[in-house]
Symmetry: C2
């Protein structure tokens, strides 16, 4: 079973990397960009188990390792 | 208009970061993990334009800055 975990910064948390990308896109001639926020994505391959159990495990992985829940949100998608 | 660009490593490209995460999850007691690949996600806010034009612009941004198309794939999603 494949799952995708997306980790993004919470609203209000400064994102200097996103700001830098926004500046670089402007410098490359792209206009009309209101903002860029960068996050991380993890494609995880899990050995056979049902979707509910996988989702529980993935949430535990996010809480323990993949996301810093003080400043980041995560979302889990079973593919 | 909001868009999400996801950049992932192509199949066959080594992903030491993903391997390290896989090892760390194993050390934390999570079992049955077949593999982890890490990628990047960009949430981009674009000033009003139609979806087709936005998609063209976003593809150009990926080719020029956001993705290294030698080793990475990108996908564009208009939200």
């Amino acid at each position: 079973m494949k799952a995708r975990v997306t980790v993004t910064l919470k609203n209000g948390v400064l994102d200097p990397q996103g700001k830098a990308i926004e500046g670089a896109l402007g410098a490359l001639g792209f206009s009309g960009i209101g903002g860029v926020r960068q996050g991380k994505v993890f494609d995880i391959e899990l050995d056979g188990r049902d979707a509910a159990a996988a989702r529980t495990d993935l949430a535990a992985m996010c809480e323990k390792l993949l996301a810093n829940t003080v400043i980041e949100n995560y979302s889990i998608e079973i593919l």
